[in-house]
């Protein structure tokens, strides 16, 4: 059937841009609908990309061929490594992007992308025919058709902002909400909920005595976010940020005004994020903590706006002032804008396939905050996967499902779809079972071949990737074939390195705690040492081999279950060995594999054992295997 486009993407937030770019890059005629092209990939909350687990997501988006990492490298004002003391699996990058440069840069990419039409118009409804998407209806009543439609509307659906007792119908500061699409989704039978998220006050930098805060310098030698970039290039000096703490005076103000918070006064019906709580939430939940960390982050190169990381709130404006003024250095603080909370309609994501396609409406995909997540990186990751799958669907190709054992994106989507959400979902490292395998530094190794296979990784990225892979191989061989022996001991001793009693390969020497590649390359006089990204992989492989092996065994064991497909037409009600409650849960969740079935909340391991026997028996494999 002839359609206007292959893929339509509604919304141009962090999910929308990745979805639209991915579909267009995979050769689909794509239309991207935005309400305001000035606010493409806008950052309404904080100015940072990355941090624990979120940095992993951002790197994975990049490794698959997404835009977030590249855009961050090109617009950042600050970057540093985080989680360095917690082991190679946890450490990652955190950057601050300039809030006007980030959207501008992304807009240019969108506008120059072949096959992509950027349309400024409001989508008011969805067109379907026999449980299949046909297209969208615009505000002026006109219709645009497509094979696949991706909805990435973030907090826009019936958005309502709260500032203390004040209520404003808005999706975020300065943007009106959208109602029609929400109705349209309800009419299609989607179960919808109401979530809430909050943002912090913005402060004027010159009104604060920053000398009373802890200065955090950027790390200019930090690696870039994008695997496509060899190094970060800065046109100007990076900016610092500052850390301070709340104190008991500030806590007392919050306690006294708790009843005025929109969250606590009952004004907000929506559920807030458990792992990104507002300051009033933190005081209420951890009454024994006397201080909470606060970071002051600069939102622009050339403007005074400071974001107060750690102080999202929906308390009234004057209370926010009082809290801030209680902290040293902020006695004279000026607020550019008060913090506020926003509540919005979301769609429960257990109504989606692992491809992010709706179970009940073929060709309709949902990605980002509408699925009950919070955060730019979580949104981008879903947008990318939805974009890829919408394109694969429009092209009649096999869908892409990313596995938990291979990526945080896989963990994210599996959690959303299999477990569902009760409050805004934020990625945490603890959500992944196989963290040492899912490092931010090897995201390319895990996902770039996947991105290449679907047609999203361009030649330039692919070449860089294969070069790095080749470098790791040849450099590992060199380390294994050259040796450190007694004759090197004087040099080792003189350079404060541990000496050897027997001849050991350079690779084995590298396993020692504290041993570094650069020591060996100096000791053995190598004229062409490997680049730092290659060295990083080799050092991790050598030093943590035992743990990597152990984890890979765990992964292999689990993969047997993950690769075991459950027939789509399995009638769970016939499985009498499984408790009635579990049968109902499984019948509702319709897991794709045994591994996924085991994660459906409330299903016991014993139930899965029963399922295994049934599947084996029906396969005829039980007595022959």
């Amino acid at each position: 059937m002839n359609r206007d486009y292959d893929v339509i993407v509604v919304g141009t937030g962090h999910a929308g841009v990745e979805a639209a770019l991915a579909a267009a890059r995979m050769g689909c005629q794509t239309a991207s609908f935005t309400l305001n092209r000035e606010r493409i990939a806008y950052m309404p909350c904080n100015c940072s990309i990355g941090g624990p687990a979120k940095g992993h997501l951002a790197r994975e988006v990049d490794a698959l061929g997404g835009q977030m990492g590249i855009n961050t490298d090109l617009s950042l004002t600050h970057i540093r490594r985080v989680g360095t003391g917690k082991g190679p699996a946890v450490q990652t990058l955190r950057a601050h992007a300039d809030k006007s440069i980030y959207p501008q840069t992304m807009r240019r990419v969108m506008e120059s992308q072949p096959h992509l039409a950027l349309v400024e118009n409001a989508v008011e409804g969805l067109l379907t025919h026999q449980n299949r998407i046909v297209g969208v209806k615009l505000a002026d009543g006109s219709e645009v058709t497509a094979h696949a439609v991706i909805i990435t509307t973030g907090t826009f659906l019936n958005g309502l902002c709260h500032l203390g007792e004040q209520k404003i119908e808005a999706a975020r500061h300065g943007d009106p909400p959208v109602g029609g699409l929400s109705q349209s989704l309800r009419a299609l039978g989607f179960r919808m909920g109401r979530f809430k998220t909050g943002t912090t006050p913005r402060l004027r930098k010159s009104s604060i005595d920053l000398t009373q805060m802890i200065l955090i310098e950027p790390e200019e030698d930090s690696p870039p976010f994008s695997f496509k970039h060899a190094r970060l290039e800065f046109a100007r000096l990076l900016l610092p940020c500052w850390q301070t703490y709340t104190n008991e005076r500030a806590h007392a103000v919050i306690q006294a005004n708790l009843h005025r918070s929109a969250m606590y006064s009952g004004q907000i019906q929506g559920t807030g994020p458990r792992y990104c709580p507002s300051i009033e939430d933190k005081i209420h939940r951890f009454p024994e903590k006397r201080a909470h960390p606060i970071f002051l982050e600069q939102e622009y190169w050339d403007q005074e706006d400071l974001y107060v990381q750690g102080m999202s709130t929906s308390l009234p404006e004057e209370t926010q002032m009082e809290i801030l003024q209680a902290m040293p250095g902020m006695e004279q603080v000026e607020m550019i804008r008060a913090g506020y909370a926003v509540e919005y309609d979301m769609v429960y994501p257990d109504q989606l396939h692992l491809t992010l396609m709706a179970r009940e409406v073929e060709g309709l995909f949902l990605a980002g905050q509408i699925n009950g997540t919070s955060g730019y990186e979580e949104a981008a990751a879903q947008g990318l996967v939805a974009g890829i799958n919408a394109a694969l669907y429009a092209q009649n190709r096999e869908p892409l499902v990313l596995e938990r054992a291979r990526s945080y994106i896989g963990v994210l989507i599996d959690d959303l779809v299999t477990k569902g959400v009760e409050d805004p979902y934020r990625m945490l490292t603890g959500r992944a079972e196989y963290r040492l395998t899912l490092r931010h530094d090897n995201a390319d190794e895990r996902l770039t071949p996947v991105g290449r296979a679907v047609g999203l990784v361009d030649d330039e990225r692919w070449q860089r990737f294969t070069q790095k892979r080749h470098g790791i191989e040849t450099e590992t061989e060199r380390l294994q074939s050259e040796f450190v022996s007694g004759k090197h001991n004087p040099w080792l001793q003189a350079n404060g390195q541990s000496m050897v009693s027997d001849r050991v390969s350079a690779y084995d020497y590298l396993r020692r705690p504290g041993a570094r590649y650069e020591t060996l390359s100096a000791l053995l006089g190598w004229e062409n040492p490997a680049p730092s990204d290659v060295v990083e992989q080799i050092e991790i492989n050598a030093k943590y081999e035992a743990y990597l092996k152990k984890q890979s065994q765990q992964v292999q064991q689990q993969q047997k279950l993950e690769h075991w497909r459950i027939p789509d037409d399995l009638d769970y009600h016939l499985l009498r060995a499984i408790s009635k409650e579990s049968r109902e849960k499984l019948a509702k969740a319709r897991p794709r594999t045994v591994g996924q079935a085991a994660r459906v909340p409330g299903v016991r391991p014993a139930d899965i054992h029963c399922l295994l026997v049934y599947l084996k028996k029906e396969n005829g494999a039980f007595y022959s295997a």
Binding site: K86, A89, G430, R435, Q554, K560, P567, V613
Partner: protein, 454 residues
């Protein structure tokens, strides 16, 4: 993908009693055609439809010829109130393999197919009549040769080991959770208290080791103690064996594929089965060690868990005894001075020897006690339940290894993330016992140990 036909269980049948001559034998049939099959091949006076939980008297007949095969009882169990949870009938026939075989073949010709090993229990499991641990215990109960074995299987059935393993598994999981929490929320909850963690891990290792120590006893209990009786010609080895066998009720097994020689026999001591190896050799070749064949004796000794060395109290400890004694490998061994009935005062030159008369039965009880103490099997009860499955022992060993590695990880001052890998592995290992760890081939390993008819 092919559609599933789970509801349509076909009908299976098998002989449910042990092979060999016995007073009665049972043919068990389970599945949707069980009742129809019974109506066809069981002739009874009462014309009313079969009722559940009733016993009918009648004849098994060949429906084609009308010829009666056997006079028998028919037991009827209607789904779901049967062992398998399906419609089930049992023909209780006269023992004797020919009759039973004929009855079984009739069931195959008129609606049933031969059951696979463990298939009845598998169906019971699938129909929610048994959980996995209970199914595992059923296999043990079937295989139990002696009282203590049965007791251990029953404890397993009741979940004693599962309970202990679950406690260990929970401890490992809570350690894992505390480490994982630090990774994401050290800001809120502070850093890891490695000292406390070390001592908790150490404690867990010790508890696991305690359980493991009983694994050896468990294996002996499960498989029986292999005993080799050794001694010079004419010291009374076979009469001692006969005496031990006669006191208990001897269980004689025929091992197919060999000659009709009985090559092993077993007796019980304190509820523990002892399997005497190479009894054929003992019986037929009493007079000459040479005729047994040195190779066969050597093998029996090598396979044995314990040795019973017999010499004549009457002849005393001879040079030949000493020479034979010195060739024996280092294994738990018991010295028995036989034929004390020929002495005026029962003493022996070997102070550790137990004084026995196979002829009068004197000292046999002492031999049994000594065998049990020799192998630490003398005080088995539910408190110190032995780990009877190799599968369980392996899982415990694996868990302990991962925990020791966790201590090493702490010693190396590696970050908490590495610790979480060790602790996760330990937790997964414990879960193999409790069934919390879902493993692809676990079910298979459990059901393959079954025999046909169960």
């Amino acid at each position: 993908m092919p559609s599933l036909k789970i509801a349509n269980q076909d009908t299976i049948s098998a002989i449910a009693t042990a092979p060999g001559t016995a007073a009665i034998g049972i043919v068990r049939v389970s599945g949707s055609d069980a009742f129809a099959l019974a109506e066809k091949m069981f002739r009874r006076a009462d014309p009313k439809p079969l009722e559940s939980h009733r016993i009918y008297v009648g004849e098994i007949v060949n429906p084609e010829t009308g010829v009666a095969v056997d006079r028998a009882l028919l037991l009827v169990f209607k789904a779901p109130n049967s062992y398998t949870g399906e419609d089930c009938v049992e023909f209780s026939c006269h023992g004797g393999s020919a009759v039973l075989r004929q009855a079984l073949e009739l069931t195959w010709r008129f609606g049933a197919r031969p059951a696979e090993p463990g298939e009845f229990t598998l169906r019971a499991f699938l129909n929610g009549k048994l959980d996995l641990a209970q199914a595992e215990a059923v296999a043990d109960l079937i295989h139990a040769r002696a009282e203590a074995q049965g007791r251990a299987a029953l404890e397993l059935h009741k979940g004693a080991l599962s309970q202990q393993a679950r406690h260990l598994s929970d401890s490992a999981l809570s350690l894992l959770a505390s480490v994982e929490a630090v990774i994401d929320f050290s800001e809120e909850i502070g850093d890891l208290n490695t000292e406390a963690l070390q001592s908790q891990i150490q404690e867990l290792i010790e508890e696991t080791e305690t359980l493991l120590k009983r694994a050896k006893a468990g294996r002996l209990l499960r498989e029986g103690v292999r005993l080799a009786i050794i001694g010079q010609p004419n010291v009374g080895k076979s009469s001692l064996l006969n005496a031990l066998l006669q006191e208990e009720r001897a269980i004689v097994t025929e091992v197919p594929g060999t000659t009709r020689d009985v090559i092993e026999e077993s007796f019980q001591a304190g509820g523990v089965p002892f399997i005497v190896q190479d009894t054929a050799g003992l019986r037929n070749s009493e007079d000459t060690v040479e005729r047994i064949g040195i190779e066969r004796t050597r093998q029996a000794i090598e396979n044995a868990d314990a040795l019973l060395f017999v010499f004549s109290a009457h002849a005393g400890w001879t040079e030949a005894d000493q020479a034979l004694w010195e060739t024996l490998p280092d294994k738990p061994a018991l010295l028995v001075a036989n034929k004390i009935d020929l002495l005026d005062t029962p003493v022996s030159s070997q102070p550790t020897a137990i004084l026995v008369s196979a002829l009068t039965g004197t000292g046999l009880e002492d031999v049994r006690h000594a065998l049990l103490s020799l192998l630490d099997l003398h005080d088995l009860n539910s408190e110190n339940l032995p780990v009877t499955h190799a599968r369980h022992a392996n899982a415990l060993r694996e868990a302990a290894d991962h925990l020791r590695h966790a201590l090493h990880t702490i010693d190396q001052a590696l970050p908490p993330d590495f610790l979480s890998i060790d602790l996760r592995s330990a937790w997964l290992a414990y879960g193999q016992i409790t069934g919390e760890t879902v493993e692809e081939d676990l079910i298979h390993r459990i059901f393959r140990d079954f025999c046909i008819g169960k």
